[in-house]
Symmetry: none
Subunit: 122 residues, 2 copies
DNA sequence: GCCATTGTATGAAAATATGCATACATTGAG
DNA sequence: CTCAATGTATGCATATTTTCATACAATGGC
């Protein structure tokens, strides 16, 4: 997985870049549920960033139910996605995504189409 | 143009968000070469951010040859701006969104449907 | 039990981002 | 020339981000 990570000096905080890239890898299916991901120390060394910075990224991913950390063992992709009030969650997520897309100048129709295509490949 | 700008509290520096969104608007064709864009003060007031922050975003865009600032006059899109790939932007955004949705346990099909509904109400 | 591995925690320092206030410099309209 | 509009610049305060150093805690293999 380490070879798929790249930290850029573009003003975006390192922990944000790392968090988004892990999410992207999961989305592409390169990281499957239950899979082990590199230790925080490995990531820190490989990307030449601080352990605390990795910790922050991992912590946020765990807070979002994406990762599960096990002390002394390692960190893994969460097996079952967090089950919550699915409808409310979906609506909130959709609105947030719509706002982000609008900010990027991306038409919602095109985004919806792209997501449908991605869903088809699952 | 101001109505197409949206600053979020997602850890990404404000000046980065602003810079990227201006680039997105150009790539989308909503800002054409030679067109005048809002003054830095207008942006600062409209988005409720600091003048210095706008200045930084505009400065980087000028450094990249995207904008041309004229003291006492205004700021304009450079006549021959570097091309921006709208498709790539959409794909990247879609993948990122898909990853986030997956991490939240949201089926892409449902998200796509929800976004389509939101698009219809525009 | 020992111990290497891995995650967790803390405190300090430096760099960066943001807001706030203020002032200066240039341009064009009148 | 006068003046409003606009970009440019500076200093200070605060919060955030990152690095550095160091230590603690739990797990599993031996």
């Amino acid at each position: 997985m380490l070879e798929n990570l790249l930290i850029q000096d573009n003003g975006v905080p390192i922990y944000v870049q790392l968090r988004e890239q892990v999410l992207a890898l999961i989305g592409r299916g390169l990281l499957k549920p239950g899979a082990r991901i590199p230790t925080m120390r490995q990531v820190a060394v490989a990307l030449k960033i601080d352990l605390n910075t990795v910790q922050r990224a991992y912590a946020e991913l765990e807070r979002d139910g994406v990762l599960t950390k096990q002390r002394g063992v390692g960190t893994f992709i969460t097996e079952a996605p967090p089950p919550r009030n699915a409808k409310k969650l979906l609506q909130e997520f959709a609105h947030r995504t719509a706002a982000q897309a609008k900010g990027q100048g991306i038409p919602l129709e095109e985004l919806a189409a792209a997501l449908t295509r991605l869903a088809g490949r699952a």
